[in-house]
Point group: D2
Chain length 339, copies 4
């Protein structure tokens, strides 16, 4: 049995804390040895919980020789620089989405990883969900034929602080998952154009400040397929992630949101509970993406989802922003340049 | 027990033949007494099967004193004139969708019915499907809160003769069902703008001739809600009609396509059959719309879906055509003028 | 188009009233022309509602020349005599289950129908439910292979008057549906032995008076298959009828209890309503059994479910009573004698 | 973060190998340090794969001071002696079901564990499945009211070597899971009597040798509830484990067998794959029972399922054997003596 891969985590916020717990509970092939966060108390607390060393500086963590792989869960605008730094230090990199907020930064990150010859995996978790994987297998096996219509949606369970949402978050942070999913489920096709419309329907009182909490996007691909991506920041019934691919030979869907196989029948009819958070809904996927990362490290191979995928999804997100601003369809920039 | 309402059917094509059978088999409150079709043999055959009189001229059928209500299932471009004629003859009118192909014709039909004081029902069958009705009840009861995101789709089981499809059929004939459904499921809101994209993906060899067999539409309502309507002329697995309404308090969906409650588990896994045709999927709805029509006739009241609804859905369809032509979002004309 | 078959209904109680409404609303091939009930007011009211003649004497109704077929929905202990009388009068007979309460009476009824050469159909409604029919098709097509394990259950929505339930009702009136279903779904096999256990769990205060409101039965067939039949008089969530057949090549199930395809997702999770009554759950089946009856009358052929089936199911029910009384397995009498 | 609990595994057969993999892949709180098997090569191979020491003698493994907890996955007739030995050595014990084949051995094992004050957990995996846990929560919260009717079934995916199945395996090894499930889902009630029937329907050619591969059991509880347990050694569609509890206020079910949320619609209708093996269907449960075991060890508390539960389920299994032998209902021995 191989030794676990030693990971250093940059970012002790919500997603970093979640990743640390997933690694500890469900990923014996990884071991968390270091945690960095600019807020020393946060780094200390999380590191202590997992028997890891604490850093206030992510770059120091990167340089720690005990760290084999770096998990980047810092704020999004720091991602690209951290990828570059980790790559230059020769460390394998797992970067949360979005890998960057500009195509230029994406190119810098990709170039650094390529030059250093290190692994660069991005946190597109749908790819590791059993339902979405089975859907992908169905598509690639030809079971649905030529792809014609697609759908992917993300609905978060709530919006704690609508005033603190950075501009364009719904495209850059939320729908970027759906864009990657749609690109992945339409293999060989390139997105050509998008039409996006967005609004503040959950918290309309923040619309003036620029909040967009609800969005619908139509993507046109070069093979003619049309895809709809849809997001809301507040689903009363929990965390909702679903996909659908319709083609010349049939349709495949993924995602049902059921918490378990339990079904309750009472005087009110049938009911069952729905998944309430991302870890609950995508727990297996979160574990599986780190299993993939450690396997790629051990085997010295590219992971199944890479920085190039992050760049492609970003190109779609940026086109959406342009579409909202111009109020008409917008072309998708040459997403494939560095692939 | 009341006597059945005597109906005259104009149009002995596919949908007319289907309506005649539904009336005979499932609607004891109606009796088919006359059938008209410009092709005398078709009129004769269908009339004979149901013990009705045959006419080659729809206007003659309208004037037959034995006919209490006229069911219009002729070609779409004849609908408005037939509505006007039947109304002027004082007959109750059931008109298949679309009631007209222009807003002007819709206004003429509405005016004639209003002037004559006759019932004018339109064949939007989703409204009578048990699942869609229950979804509508959930929306109007407030169970999903303020409507924010919607979806309605229609996928037909196949496209027999792609070269014979009139221009814009996908919007005027197919998606018009979805537009009505979306307007009905978002009560009190008006469609403001649409973005539509369409293509020939099922039969690309007919694209040059103007075939559009696949389409996606985004509708923006004046209450901020966004709706997606989607259609394909060829679903390998049958006839697929589904709806979804997402709001501030939850979501409701309708449509599952299962042929029955049977489920089969074999070495290949679980399977069950899907509905293969419109009558199979919407059989109860087809019967229920004629039950509603005869009830409205007997009670001398307006039916639950009227010519005004047809006009509103048409306004959306026409805006879609403009959006495809201009390749940008298009405003929806004052749909509500005559309501 | 043929004229409707003229039916006379004996019994204006709950099920008779329901049958009359189903015939009027959903079965154009039948027309209710006469209603008989020993309570004249009940006969009058129901007859009036459907434009039929009222009789206080079922035998007089049988003799009415306007009556082509007799629908027997009287009290169970009168069924066999009425079948005999109707058969001798040369009328087609539709008899509610149970056709009789003893094998001797079943034999009398079968003999009378055979002698007179009239149709004798019995009201086993599961056979006409689309889910159960599809399950039956799967079994007879060989899709589940050799039958090994079976299940059929009936749960009624409530027990209005526990003190008025005749002895052994749960076997003779309720589970007799399940026995017929299981015999039908295991074609070619004969029931050999049963083990039955029953109790008053819904209304235990009536146990002393002999109430049995909950029962479980195991049937052993001559092909080795074991079947479980299960009943309760009070399901809080409505009317629940399900079946399952497991065999060497797979499993088929029928029955899901959903009221429609609507699904509601709220802060409480997913929910949908369940069917609350027999007509709601089995409405299509009730209509279809009368369609079958009128078709058999018109075509002069045996219906798909006959008095011989009633006798076979009764033999199982009687063995269950013996099993409860002796508190051990009981053999099933020569069920097939008259087949 | 605590150090993992060091476990020694006795038995390198199918289930031992599976447990070792589950512990390595999914249970960071445990570490496999030793493997024993009388077949030295099997012990060596499994130990090597997991970086553990190999033993040919289970007793030597028990005495190894590096072993904190012993996982017993040896042949069933050795279980009780190994429990006693491990308890006397002061080791925490996880014993696969059945803990013993006689009530006397069960009492010995329970007494040894009690005397030594060690933890004794038994491998009833349904208790850790999310669906069954949620069903249990529904029952104990009162959501289904007073329990009246129950069902639990186990269908294995196949029978490799029908000639090598020890007598009564279907009750002692397979249905014992269902008996525990039913006792657990009917809290506070005691089983009073069983009726069991069993046969060789999967491999009838081995019936003469005593094979029983299909069984149905009815359990009567002292609160009147009736439960059906059902097993088959060969389900063509995979591994099927389901439960149902029906009570005065409703019903709860668990188990659906779906491999993932993926659904495929093709010209053949809808399909999805079913779980094919116990680890696939119950993977989360297998991991969770070891998480529970290590938690109980660390916290020095009783686990949620104990040797006393094993004794109760065994009492039901033994009564089933008597019922089959006597061909009548059999009483359940004082199952609760040592609880």
């Amino acid at each position: 049995m191989d030794e676990p891969v030693s990971l250093g985590l940059i970012g002790a916020g919500r997603i970093g804390t979640s990743h640390a717990r997933v690694i500890a509970q469900d990923v014996p092939s990884a071991r968390l040895v270091a945690v960095a966060d600019p807020r020393p108390a946060a780094a200390e607390a999380l590191a202590h919980r997992h028997g890891a060393r604490a850093f206030s500086d992510g770059l120091a963590l990167i340089d720690d020789p005990a760290v084999q792989g770096v998990v980047i869960a810092a704020s999004s605008d720091a991602h690209a620089d951290l990828v570059v730094a980790a790559a230059r230090a020769g460390k394998a990199v797992f970067c949360e989405k979005p890998m960057s907020l500009t195509l230029g930064d994406a190119d810098r990150a990709l170039a650094a990883a390529e030059e250093a010859g290190v692994i660069l995996q991005v946190g597109f978790n749908r790819r590791f969900d059993p339902g979405f994987r089975a859907a992908h297998d169905a598509v690639t096996s030809g079971a649905v034929g030529t792809v014609q219509l697609m759908r992917s949606l993300t609905r978060d369970p709530g919006l704690a602080n609508p005033g603190a949402v950075p501009p364009w978050t719904i495209f850059l942070q939320t729908l970027i998952h759906d864009f990657d999913t749609l690109l992945w489920l339409n293999p060989g096709a390139e997105p050509v154009e998008v039409y996006a419309t967005a609004d503040a329907l959950v918290a309309p009182e923040f619309k003036e400040q620029g909040l967009l909490d609800t969005a619908v996007v139509v993507i046109t691909f070069d093979n003619g397929a049309r895809a709809v991506a849809e997001a809301s920041f507040s689903a009363a019934y929990g965390y909702d992630v679903r996909g659908e691919v319709f083609g010349s030979r049939g349709m495949v869907t993924a995602g049902d949101g059921a918490r378990s196989s339990m079904r309750l029948y009472t005087s009110g009819g049938l009911s069952h509970d729905t998944a309430r958070g991302d870890v609950e809904l995508l727990g297996q996927a979160y574990a599986a993406e780190f299993v993939e990362f450690t396997a790629a490290v051990r085997e010295g191979r590219a992971p199944s989802v890479t920085g190039a995928d992050a760049r492609r999804a970003l190109a779609v997100a940026l086109a959406c922003i342009e579409s909202v601003q111009t109020h008409r369809p917008a072309p998708v920039a040459e997403a494939g340049v560095l692939r």
